[in-house]
Symmetry: C2
């Protein structure tokens, strides 16, 4: 997906958020934001979003000297989500449609705004997603394709959300469906890394690999050969969140299920659902 005009200010907003978390030094903060602006000013905007996004965050890390600006936030998310995890399993067990409930929980994990009032928000957001309707709900196709394929490549999004993913992966495992769980190869935004997958105990229900690089979403030109082979060979992909959607919505000949909360108007228009809605959308673009 290529950026729209409105994406450029949004890159800069993301950068300023990362910068504020990276350092208290006002001089370094201004220097970092100006360097990001300079990069965006002289860069081609026709590149894919993950390339621009990745470079923006790399500049922040380089100029501020903070290799993991979101570390504290990620730790807090993991802690909160781990406390909430035990409540999620019985919810799935007691549901009429455990796989749909587990998928909705995984989507709720993407919907949570991991901000300051996180404890209240987790409970509320999960309730809202479970009780509400998905704006796009291709669960029947997911069930059918998963039973046929028996193997799923599952692209993770954020730290903390990983605990919610584990619920869905657990349900898939009960149906003898194997999952390979993909996290980022290095710290970028609040995206899950190997450490976060381990904290959520994903290793006990799935094989865990990484993209091999600290990219936002999936930046194919930078991913490891190992990941590229796994992606190439996969017959079915579950993709969480906007970053992965932006990376994969041009991919040909691959059946992908996008599970996410829509947080921006550009994605909303592209996916065909309203901003703030939750979706489980099947995608298959043939050449």
């Amino acid at each position: 997906m290529k950026p729209h005009l409105e994406c450029v200010p949004c890159f800069l907003r993301q950068a300023s958020e990362a910068i504020l978390m990276s350092t208290d030094d006002e001089v370094v903060r201004e220097e970092a934001l100006r360097e990001v602006m300079s990069y965006l000013l002289y860069e081609e905007w026709g590149k894919v979003i993950p390339e621009l996004g990745t470079n923006v965050h790399r500049i922040v890390k380089r100029v501020t000297g903070n290799e993991d600006p979101y570390k504290q936030l990620k730790d807090e998310c993991n802690e909160m989500a781990s406390k909430f995890y035990s409540k999620l399993e019985p919810t799935v067990k007691n549901s009429n449609d455990p796989l749909l409930t587990a998928a909705k929980i995984a989507i709720a994990g993407n919907a949570i705004d991991f901000g300051p009032r996180i404890e209240i928000d987790i409970e509320k957001e999960v309730q809202k997603v479970l009780e509400g309707k998905l704006a796009i709900n291709d669960i029947d196709q997911l069930k059918g394709s998963a039973q046929k394929s028996k193997d799923i490549l599952y692209l993770a999004d954020n730290a903390g959300e990983t605990f919610f993913d584990r619920i869905l992966i657990g349900e898939l495992a009960k149906r003898d469906i194997n999952v390979t769980y993909v996290v980022k190869g290095g710290s970028i935004l609040n995206d899950a890394t190997l450490r976060d997958a381990e904290m959520a105990g994903i290793n006990s229900v799935a094989k865990v690999i990484s993209t091999g690089t600290d990219c936002t979403g999936v930046l194919f030109s930078e991913c490891s050969k190992h990941f590229l082979r796994e992606f190439e060979n996969s017959s079915l992909v579950i993709s969480k969140g906007q970053g992965n959607y932006e990376s994969l919505n041009d991919v040909k000949n691959k059946e992908i299920f996008f599970l996410l909360k829509i947080k921006c108007p550009i994605i909303a228009e592209d996916i065909g659902a309203k901003k703030a809605s939750t979706v489980l959308k099947r995608f298959l673009k043939n050449e």
Copy 2:
């Protein structure tokens, strides 16, 4: 008020919004946004917010060749607000505290997000502000100071909001308090100009003047001598919206009442109330 780091991406977001309304030409759109970025990259960030904001919007107007990007939006706002206006007068008349109700209506006018679902939003927003509590409510001081001064300089914010201001000015007029209503001297954002004041019939309840320039908020270095004299001689100021707050919260020896909805976290922190809350705040900083 000087910009915080987060204000820089926000300037760019505002610019991209204005650009999208200014022209359909994608090449010109990119050129305009890049020129705004170039300005912000090489400009000092220690200047006051209205100076940076004004320059950003002037670049958009110059590069796109559209002297009034928000014209259509302003026309729609005026039309909607004019339809709603007749409902507002009886609300004030039947209230226990007409001046507070009128002030709340003026604040509701600032709270309305003049977007696409405007008809629904006006009704809902007015109801919400009238039934709710102001986060800061210095109405008693406003009543006292207005009775003593008998003259108020009233700084307008947006087009459409002007109809709501007229309600408050009408109530002040009933108490023999004269109002001088100040709009912008040229088109900038969706800010009210002489034309918008006239459409709302402000001329029948107040003397209407302009800042003499197309600045955001009040940029004293660019305002007309006429406005500066009026400001200097005023004993009491009512200031609507964030742009005017950013311009006046450093002013010394002037009694100002800020009426606004808080739409950004920086203003929220500065004013001492939560984002999304509505306030009527007395301000007097002595030298």
